[in-house]
């Protein structure tokens, strides 16, 4: 029979949005109760442009193909003890930070996109969010399966999710995602799909994945690249969501701009952890934080916002502060961890001399002036056997929850303090960006579960460091503290058949054992 065949686009529409119907037995608001409270006006869900057209059977087929390849490599990696091929045992600490800080966010994305995929009342975004939801489950699970092998041979990985919910620096990523998930579906996708995945994702994935490649970690490279093919779908979803909201109603523009401002700053502060990973934790460096910020944010992001200006959207507020901070961010962050590493589940160390030179070359205006002297002083203490750990608990920013160690935008020698009053209490912030977010929704952010406050309130196992570490499930002397004194390093040398003197590098010779 001669049939008029549906076009691919028509067919996809039949296979997705045509499945829904206007309910008549229930009020639509009972089925989709979250579509209005954020103040976003949608007139016509049919105007949604599907960012990709993938039927479920095709999804299964492509994804299974990728999974088969990935697991073949993971299997080979563990059979061949691939973990011993990495550049240096210090590298593994970047992976610890990844499993403790990033993988739980993949899981949160899985649940968050399930919420959005259930709540949007248009089938187009429902389907896109649902597929992203299971992609994100894929990411966390492939990461666990890959890193499982590292966990068998290195400390710090073993209780990553318990730690994610308790350890002080991990409240930074945890609160970031919970902030997005506890908002409505439109803000959630603006936060995660657009601001994080579309605008900032290169600054998360490039450092970890290229870092893995440079440092001989083939398993991580493989899951990273395998995830990246999902990520390109997620990024197109991010852009579509923004354009859809902006095109539906002019009243959406200021709301979207406010969210972009907020989530840019939230995301940027979260990337602080990545900046120090790039500049300090990779034995073989890919590029500096500063270079990455220039390339991925200033250039690419600048072009994007130029494109969005026709909708009345401008660059996110305080982007200029991020540019001022790019010469200090990673150094200020690494110093925090060097200070508090007795309470962190990865090792820190002072850069070796060759690394100091790299840092001076990459940060000619700041490194030798502000940070090298600090490291040299700390090294002199280490040489005397007095490795410095700070026993005073730091004050945390109420919003981003990072210890208050960032400096004034225009003065790198002055710690930046901001504060607000709310209901008679005073709240402290690391920056104007964090303060503004608080001031806009103080009733939300007074709720922050601040690790330091919680310790003071006796909710973390006790008042002493050993009690808190136990509550963290952080094994003192194994998971934490100086790399040079670590089991990881001793094991590594033993496994690689190297004695301490074989692996002698300048800084190691300088340490008094």
């Amino acid at each position: 029979m001669a049939a008029k065949r549906l076009s691919l686009r028509e067919k996809y529409q039949k296979f997705t949005r045509d499945l829904a119907w206007e309910p008549s037995y229930q009020d639509k608001a009972n089925i989709f109760p979250q579509t209005e409270f954020e103040g976003i006006h949608i007139h016509d869900w049919d105007k949604w442009e599907d960012p990709f057209r993938l039927t479920v059977d095709a999804y299964w087929k492509y994804q299974a193909e990728k999974e088969r390849k990935l697991y073949a490599i993971i299997d080979a990696f563990s059979q061949n003890n691939g973990q011993f091929n990495v550049s240096d045992a210090r590298y593994v600490n970047a992976l610890k930070l990844f499993l403790q800080g990033v993988s739980p966010l993949e899981y949160a994305a899985h649940r968050g996109f399930a919420m959005a995929g259930r709540q949007f009342s248009g089938v187009g975004p429902q389907v896109a969010c649902q597929m992203q939801s299971i992609d994100e489950l894929r990411h966390v699970q492939t990461q666990i399966h890959t890193i499982s092998q590292y966990n068998k041979f290195f400390n710090g990985f073993h209780d990553w999710n318990h730690m994610h919910q308790r350890v002080w620096y991990l409240s930074v990523p945890k609160s970031f995602f919970e902030d997005a998930m506890s908002a409505g579906p439109f803000e959630f996708v603006t936060a995660i799909s657009f601001s994080f995945e579309y605008v900032l994702t290169n600054l998360l994935f490039m450092p970890f994945m290229s870092g893995a490649a440079y440092n001989g970690d083939m398993a991580t490279v493989t899951f990273g690249f395998s995830a990246q093919s999902d990520e390109s779908r997620h990024m197109t979803l991010g852009l579509e969501v923004i354009k859809f909201m902006l095109e539906q109603d002019e009243r959406n523009v200021p709301i979207v701009q406010k969210w972009i401002d907020k989530w840019f700053w939230r995301g940027y502060r979260l990337l602080t952890l990545v900046s120090m990973m790039m500049d300090y934790m990779l034995p073989k460096r890919v590029m500096s934080w500063k270079e990455a910020w220039e390339m991925y944010f200033e250039e690419n992001g600048g072009a994007l916002f130029e494109d969005l200006s026709r909708y009345g959207i401008r660059m996110p507020k305080y982007w200029d502060v991020s540019v001022k901070e790019k010469e200090r961010l990673s150094h200020e962050a690494w110093s925090i961890f060097y200070n508090y590493d007795h309470a962190a589940a990865f090792h820190s160390w002072l850069p070796e001399e060759s690394e100091m030179e790299w840092l001076s070359a990459k940060y000619p205006d700041t490194f030798d002036k502000y940070y090298r002297p600090r490291y040299e002083y700390w090294r002199s203490l280490q040489e005397k056997g007095e490795r410095w750990y700070n026993s005073t608990l730091p004050m945390l920013c109420q919003l981003c929850q990072i210890p208050m160690a960032f400096t004034e935008p225009d003065d790198p020698t002055q710690i930046c303090y901001r504060s607000s009053e709310y209901n008679g209490d005073k709240y402290h912030f690391c920056s104007d960006g964090c303060k503004d977010i608080f001031d806009d929704e103080p009733e939300k952010y007074v709720q922050s579960w601040l690790p330091v406050h919680q310790i003071y309130q006796g909710n973390c196992g006790g008042a002493s460091v050993p009690e808190v570490l136990e509550w963290y499930h952080l094994v003192d002397g194994q998971d934490n503290k100086e790399f040079l004194d670590s089991q990881d390093r001793a094991n590594w040398n033993r496994w690689k058949g190297e004695s301490d003197s074989d692996t002698d590098q300048p800084v190691k010779a300088a340490v008094n054992d």
Binding site: M1, A3, L6, E10, K11, K14, L19, A20, W21, P23, S24, Q26, Q34, F37, T55, V56, D57, K61, Q63, A64, E65, E67, N85, Y107, A108, H110, A114, G117, R118, Q119, V123, Q126, Q130, S133, I134, L137, R138, Q141, I144, H145, S148, K152, F153, D159, N161, H162, Q165, K174, E178, D179, M181, S182, G184, K444, Y445, Q454, N491, W495, K496, G497
Partner: protein, 333 residues
Amino acid sequence: MTIEIKTQSVEPLRHTFSNVARRQGADKSASRYLEAMFDLQPTVNFHYKPQWDPDHDLYDTGRTAIVMEDWYAFRDPRQFYYGAWTTTRAKQQDVAERNYAFVEKRALLDLVPEETRKVAEAAFVPLRHAEYAANLNNMYICAYGYGTAITQAASFNAVDRLGIAQYLSRIGLMLDGNTSESLDAAKQAWLENEAWQPLRQLCEELMATKDWFELYVAQNFALDGLLYPLVYERIDGELQRHAGSTISMLNEFMSEWYGETSRWVDATLKTAAGESDANKVQLEQWARQYIDRAAQALTPVAAQVFGTDAQSVIAELREDLTNRAGKKAGLEL
């Protein structure tokens, strides 16, 4: 770079993650299913109450009446994590693809009498809307449920249901020669034809149900437990008398899927019922209530094929489901 490793010195420090070891009672190797399932969902120290549900935490055991000491007591007998699930489905879609190609290439549907094709179209194609409701309902369970053991499997189920809705749409297109006339007619029937209204009403009610475990019982046990045997066994069997196995080939994915998924549903209910009498009573009450509703809603659907025998067909299916509840799911209905 070659690396020489002294074999005796590369004994692993541990064999699995600490949370998995605690649950296993020992540090021994764990399956991929367990390592990537246990404790993935945060349980404590939430920062902000959700604006969309300020009375609960982001993840909260209080969103259902079912109470569990440990939400990781649930196990998926299929041991599905993402990789296992997607490779299983990829194989099944491969078979489905071959079946469709076979039917199309040999124009087997042309050999099915017009009357039978009309019955098939009327019985199967509107169900794509019911599958869409099942998709949203399982996404709801994933979104607001508690503990990755159940929620991940619900997310797979949700996507499966979207896939089934798409297979049903495809069958429609095969029956109508790719004009989408059958899809349009099915939607019309779903919205207006009396035979479908009770089922549509039930679907809309489920989409507005707040307790996620109640929804699980209603959708995955009661409604599916009657609908799948009705459609993919009874109606399919009836059509076979005139259509041979052609229609069954198109439905193979669904009948296989149901057999597999029922194992997960039964195991979930059994675990929850085994936890406490209160759970058991609650589950039985929901099961009875929704089996009644589903039976009512499906009777006119069955009548399209079985006419006045519909009542007795549904009664038989109810009995089968009641038996299944007792034998497999630990519920006395």
